[in-house]
Structure formats: structure tokens, C-alpha cells
Symmetry: C3
Subunit: 347 residues, 3 copies
């Protein structure tokens, strides 16, 4: 890995350098793990306390932290600076596009220039792959699927037939897109009759989907993930659901069928959302919450999900239920005593 001088780095992150401009650092690291020759990025004043004991040679820090006698570069947004620095120190390696000889590509598939296809990948008939897309080993791309330019699909992903994926999308390993929606009809015989799932999945530009997720095809029409949305690992998206733009779904979130998630929503880990529920634009839902009715905007928590302030108050009292009951029983005892004395007065 090549190193950069603090001066060069400061220019790259539009920061203000206090220290040695010619000092060269070779690696970006966390404050804890950084050693001699490393540059550490500090996100907030809380972490800034760790600078004293850190062995890093220099630090990128928020504008407002107090003076320290170390090499520091002050920046308005350290997280943004981290992105810039990681891209500087870890440029994406140049890659010669290649269709591996062990890939199986249908003669009826259309591959644009600059497409890579890994060993063991299978590209079925009538698939279209955009320029510069990278299909990793052992991926299965079902018949008639469309993959946009610069999209990257990691190993062992399965894309069912008829899926439409936009540009610059990243789909991590093991994820399954377009499997059957979970739809059955209770028959008089006590058996479940399968509703054929003839819809498809549409994923817009700049979406990222984690590893081992499942996005079901629609019964009719489409299951949709709109542009810029980011989905973590092991997330389930049921048939005919639609997730808006620039939303965040953390790990192990589960959406049932026909759910509507708005734009700029955040669903924390392990949240579950019931059939046909709508979540408004800009809503945040706390971890493990169960959303069984329409919610939003604002922050919602719990099962069933309620506004966070109500939930925090109730959760707080939940732990104190034994004390509350003791108090009530004490009141009961005192009241009974008082009633007795009152009666004796009346006599």
C-alpha cells in the first residue's frame, strides 16, 4: 500500500492541518488499533479522549474538538473524510473484464462490453447484462433477467427468471432474488392450494443488498426496491412489497407481503412488518419492533410499534411493575383500615 503525506491527505479531505505537512502515513486505522505510521479517523469528541493513548502518527478529527499536541487534520464531517481516505488508500483494483471459460453463457444472452463473468456462473437465455457489470463465480442468472451497467453480483447469488436490476447495484453473496411469494389458499380439503407467483422483482439504481437475503417475486406485478436503498444481511422482503428511495433496512428485518416502506426510512435490526402495512416517509423503527399497523413519521418502537416516547415511558414502568403492585396493595390495606375506623365512628 502506498503512503501519502499529511499535506496531500489534508487537501483530499478539505481539512485544516495542524502538524507536520511532510509526514507520510501508510494506513487508515481505528484509534484503538492504529500503530506507528497509521492515520486514525476520530468521529466524535467521545472517541477523541482516546487520542492521548493512541499510537497513531496522525488523526483526522471533527472541527470542534479542543487543541491536542499531535498531528491532526480538522474536518467538518469525519465520516465523509473516512470515505475519501479509504478511496484514496484503497483504490478499486483495475480489473481486466473476462468471461471465465468455466462460465456457462447462453448464446441467447446479450452481454455489453466490459462484462466479467466468473467460473461456474450460469447466464440463461435472454439475459441482458449492462456495460462493466461483474457477475462473480457460481451466480445463477435466470432467463430474461436484466442487469444494469456497473452492477456487481457476488458469488452464489441466485436471480430467478424475469428479474430487473438497475445500474451500480451491489448484491452480496448467497442472496436470492425472485423466489416465489408465499401465497396459498386454504382448500376445503384442509390442504393449501399454491397461488402461482407470476410477477417479478424490480431493483432500481444504486441499491445495495447484503448477504443471504431473500427478495420474493410478486404474485402479480412487481416487488420493488427503489433507488439508493441499502439492505443489510439476512433480510426478507415479501411478495408485492415496495421499499422507497434511500431507505435503510438493517440485518434480519422481515417484510411480509404488500408492505409499503416510504423514502428515507430506517428499520433497525430484526424489525418485522405485517402484511399490507404502510410506513410513511422518514420513519425510524427501533430494533426488534413489530409493525402491525400503519406508522410514521417519527420514531416508533415495540410490539406493536408505538411512538418512541410512549414506548420508553411504558418500558420503564414495566420493570417497576412489582413496585407498583406493592404500592397498590399497600394502599388497599390502608384503605381497608380507614374504612374500618370510619365504620366504628358511625356506630
Amino acid at each position: 500500500m502506498r503512503g501519502y503525506s499529511l499535506e496531500t491527505i489534508s487537501e483530499n479531505v478539505h481539512g485544516r492541518l495542524y502538524g507536520e505537512p511532510e509526514l507520510v502515513v501508510n494506513r487508515i486505522m481505528t484509534v484503538d488499533e492504529a500503530g506507528h505510521g497509521d492515520l486514525a479517523v476520530v468521529f466524535d469528541s467521545k472517541i477523541a479522549a482516546g487520542i492521548e493513548g493512541s499510537r497513531a502518527s496522525a488523526f483526522v478529527v471533527p472541527m470542534k474538538i479542543p487543541d491536542i499536541k499531535r498531528n491532526i487534520i480538522r474536518v467538518p464531517n469525519p465520516r465523509l473524510a473516512l470515505i475519501q481516505l479509504l478511496n484514496l488508500f484503497h483504490p478499486r483494483p483495475e480489473r481486466e473484464p473476462v468471461i471465465h471459460e468455466r462460465a456457462v453463457v447462453s448464446p441467447r444472452a446479450k452481454l455489453s462490453p466490459g462484462v466479467s463473468v466468473g467460473a461456474g456462473a450460469l447466464i440463461e437465455a435472454d439475459v441482458e447484462i449492462g456495460a462493466g457489470a461483474w457477475i462473480h463465480p457460481n451466480v445463477c442468472l435466470g432467463e430474461g433477467s436484466i442487469i444494469g451497467d456497473q452492477t456487481e453480483i457476488f458469488p452464489n447469488v441466485t436471480i430467478y427468471p424475469g428479474t430487473r436490476i438497475g445500474r451500480r447495484v451491489r448484491i452480496h453473496a448467497g442472496t436470492v432474488i425472485g423466489s416465489d411469494g408465499f401465497g396459498y389458499v386454504n382448500l376445503e380439503s384442509g390442504e393449501q392450494g399454491k397461488i402461482p407467483q407470476v410477477g417479478y422483482v424490480e431493483i432500481e439504481d444504486d441499491v445495495e443488498i447484503g448477504a443471504n437475503c431473500t427478495i420474493d417475486r410478486a404474485t402479480l406485478g412487481a416487488t420493488r426496491i427503489l433507488s439508493g436503498t441499502k439492505i443489510d444481511n439476512l433480510v426478507q422482503v415479501g411478495h408485492n412489497s415496495e421499499i422507497g428511495k434511500h431507505s435503510i433496512l438493517a440485518g434480519q428485518v422481515g417484510l411480509s407481503g404488500s408492505v409499503r416502506i416510504g423514502n428515507h426510512c430506517v428499520l433497525a435490526g430484526q424489525v418485522g412488518v405485517g402484511d399490507h402495512v404502510q410506513i410513511k416517509d422518514g420513519t425510524m423503527v427501533g430494533g426488534q419492533s413489530g409493525v402491525v399497523r400503519d406508522v410514521g413519521p417519527g420514531r416508533w418502537v415495540g410490539y406493536p410499534a408505538i411512538p418512541v416516547i410512549k414506548a420508553l415511558r411504558a418500558q420503564h414502568l414495566f420493570v417497576e411493575l412489582p413496585a407498583l403492585r406493592r404500592l397498590v396493595r399497600d394502599l388497599e390495606r390502608r384503605l381497608t383500615e380507614l374504612e374500618g375506623r370510619e365504620q366504628s365512628h358511625d356506630k
Copy 2:
């Protein structure tokens, strides 16, 4: 896609047609998304309100909805009609059975007539595959596994050795059947000793299993899924568990070891069931519930799961805990005041 006249369609779904018998529709669609030339299926009176504004050319509707001036076909069970219509409009494509030249099939495997095996699939020694079964690309079928007639196994599925799968079973992409049960013994050294998992998994006829599920083999004996049961995506079934007939497990449900689920049960999304717990025939368990003791029949909800009526009442009061505490404190104040006045009386 070929179209059908309303008359033909009405016959197919055993419905009563009100409108133009010779009108041809070309597609089945939801009320919302239907356009000119489409037939929309309406499941209940609630959705029926949407017919007015729909651009569909005709509608399949429940028997009992009021008269509308559109082309409608009344049917007793619109969901059943949907199945019939989807099968009419989307007949399963004819498929020439083929063993792909890039499949790896052990000479010791037995394949019945009409079996398809996709590229990159691996069929180990002593595997038996029934007539008309379809093994998709990159599936791994472990030694000695048995796959029934007409069963379909989607891409990237892993079947561990010794698994027994019935007829007309569908296993979606990425699912793992027969991985080791999670069994360890705490050793005096503080380490965990692994209990070898020498049992197997048995899946009966007409089961459907979603994508990226995990069904563990038994420690001894079998983990069993009985006929007709339907399992959604990302579901975990622990070692030695048994799921009865025609039950439904929604997405992200987790069963620990040696669980017993009866027939005709429904477990909603993200339900967890503890070791050795039994769930009686016909039990419904609400989303995200935690079942730690035997339950059923009827509807159960919450952690730990309790009968739904109790749970709803308690959940309702949970949110009102702050009000309840205020009331109790108010009573305490009033009581103290009363006690004071009472004492002054006594003086």
C-alpha cells in the same frame, strides 16, 4: 401471452358472468395496476371499492358484492379463481428434460426418466432421483439422498448426505437441508464437545420450502416435515424437530431442537419456539411471539406466548402504564390526606 374471452374465463372459474361474453382479456393483474385489456381479481368487498377507479377491462369478484356497471364474473372463492386463472394464463412451460454437460453426476447415482439436472449441479454417489424431478444449476445433492418424483430443487441449494425428500416438493434457492444439529456438551475444560450428528432429514410429499432456509439433520433419528406443509424464507428448523401436516411457517421463524408442531398450525413471521416445546394441532401463533412452553390450540401471542385475548388486554394496558401510575399516586395522595384528617378527628 394469449388472451381468453370472458365466457371461457367464466367457465374456467365456475363463475357467473355479467357483461360482454366475447370480450377478450390478455393478462391477470391487481385492481391497482391493471390497465386496458386486463382482468383484475378482487378478493373482498374492501378492495371492491377500488373497482370504480380501476382501468381493468373486467373483474372477478366475490358473489356477494353489490351490482356494478362493469364486466364482472362472480365466484364463490376469488382466491381459488385466481389460482385457476393464473394456471390458465401462465401454463407451466414445456421443458425438455436434460442432464447438462456441465453437471457432475456420480456413476453410482440412479436417475429416473425425465429428470433434469442443471449446469454445475453435483449428484453424489447413491443418490436416487424420481421421475420428472428438476435439479437446478449449482445444487449439491449429498451421498445417498433420495429425491421423489416431480420434485423441484432451485439453484444453489445444498442437500447433505442421507436426506429423504418426497414427491412434488419444491425447495427454493440457497436453502440448506441436513446440516449438523447444534449439539455440544460442556466439558470440564470449559470447551464444548461436539455431539456427532448422525441422524437425517425427512421431508414428505407436497412440502414447499422457501429460499435460504436451514433444516438441520437429527442427532439420532430424523428431523421431519410432514406432507403438505409450507415454509417461507429464512426459516430455521432445529435438529429432531417435527412439523405436522399442512402447517404454515412464515418468514424467519426459528425452531430450536426437538420441537413438535402439530397439523394445520400457522406460525407467523419471526416466531421463535424453544427446545422440546409442543404446539398442538390447529394452533396459530402471532408474529414475533416466543413459545417457551407447550401451547395450543387457539391463538397465542407474545413473549412468553399467552392466549391472544389475554395478550391483547395486557398489551393495551402496557401503553397506559404511565396513566395507571399517575392514578395510583393520586390515590396515594388522597388516601394520605384522608388518613391525616381522620387522625385529627380522633384527637
Copy 3:
């Protein structure tokens, strides 16, 4: 399968035999499912009740259970005996190490003696695989990954580049190791800027990881799983998390980013742990709990997780909330009545 005499078995498990030393049994089975010729292992006195009705020919039982007129072998730890017996009856089959001709192995990969690589597996450049390791079919091992001696990686696993895996590790089918951590920065545009994930995953010796898990690489530095820890299926481990030695994570557990789990911890099924949370050595967390603040040691339960005794009391009262409210309202009525009479006294 070959059989063994009770005498041989008793020696193998260091037990005390009561019954026929020369009787040969052919199979280990559970008490319920055992038949003639089988040996059943009984873990506790509760199951011992089932011995009476069992058709097994002999039983391994805890030291302390009362006398029974069957062939029994008393042992101090039946679970340990089960391990010994399963290893005796089901010795790991001898395997000729082989690199399958349909595997794709980079000429720049280094394979030690005795390594097996299955069909369709892909070993990228600069991968190092230790002696006796077994890479199953369709596994993808990314560039520069290191796999220790005797480690076994089951089919369809994806290992991203730069992953370090120790000795005697077992990784079950479909699991993904080293996919990108879930890290974004909210940009002023309303979009999320991706933080490049340039760290890696390190897994120490004797770890076992279940099927379809996801272990994310670190943003910087490493996501670490220390030696001897066992992880069940469908578990999510977020970027920069660290799990200590000999801990247990049950199915569908989810760890967010930068979580610290100590040594000898047990997280039951579907537990969720929030960002940066620390769980102390020896902590047990109950099923479905949500850990949002540092906890431990001892047993913790609920959302948010609290010590188990508090939680059980509160859960118990939760169900009785309707009764508590009725009592409070009754007290209110009585108090109001008393206040009225008090006032009339004063007049």
C-alpha cells in the same frame, strides 16, 4: 454398521455395566425410537421414566437413577458418553484427498498435502489451504484467504478475499464470510455514501459456524471470532464485532457493528445486540432478547434486556395488568366514597 458388545461399550464410556456383557447392540438411538438391538442413551431421570416402555436392548444412564431390570450402563455424564458412542459407531469415513477435475484452482494458490477440493469449487489467487482441509463443491474462496489445517468448508459457502480461518474450523453450507460491513454516511443530498469496507474477518481454531450465516468484514481492522466458539444457523455478525472464546450463539442471533461478546457467553435464539454493546464473560441472554446496553455477567432477558429475576417478575405481572387495573379502579371508587362520607362528617 458393525455392532459392539455391552462390555466393549462399557469400557469405551468408562461406565458400570449391569446386565449381559456379551450382548451385541448395533445402533445408538433415542429412547423413543429405539428398537430391538439398539442402545439408547438416557440423559436425565425425567427421560429415565421412558425406559420401562422402550424397546431398546440396553441403556446408557446417569449414575444416580434407581435400579431397573434392563441392561444398563451407568456413567457420570451421559452426554459425554453419547459423544464417545457416536464416534465409536460412526467413525469418520476414510477419505482419499482429491482435487476434483471440475474444481478451479488458481496456479497462485498454495495447497498443503491432503487437501480435498470438490467439483465447482473456486480457489482464487494467493489462497493458502492447510493440510487435510476439505473444501466442498461450489465453495468460493476469495483471493488471499488463509484456511487452516483440517478445516472443513461445506458446499456453496462464499469466503470473500482476505479472510483468515484457523484450524479444525467447520463452516456449514451457504454461509458467507467477509461480505461488506453495513456502513454508510448520510450525505446532504439525502443519499447514503458507502464507507468502503477494507478490513477482514478472522476466525480462530475450533470454531463451528452453522448454515446460511453472514459474518461481515470490518470497516478497518478485523471482525473476530475467537477459538472454540460455536455459532448456529442464520446468525448475523456485523462488522468489527468480536466474539470471545467458547461462546455459544444460537440460531438467528443478530449482532450489529462493533459488538463485544466475552468468553463463555450463551446467546439464545433470535437475540439481537445493538451497535457497540459489550456483553461480559459468562453472560447468558434469553431467547429473543434485545441487548441495547452493556450487560452481564449473569442471566439477562427481555427488551431491553434486564436481569432475569426482574424480568420474570415483571412478565408475570404483565399478564395480570387487567386485574391490577380493576383493583386500582375499585380502590378509587372506595376512596371517593370514603371522602364523601368524611366531608359529610365535617359538615
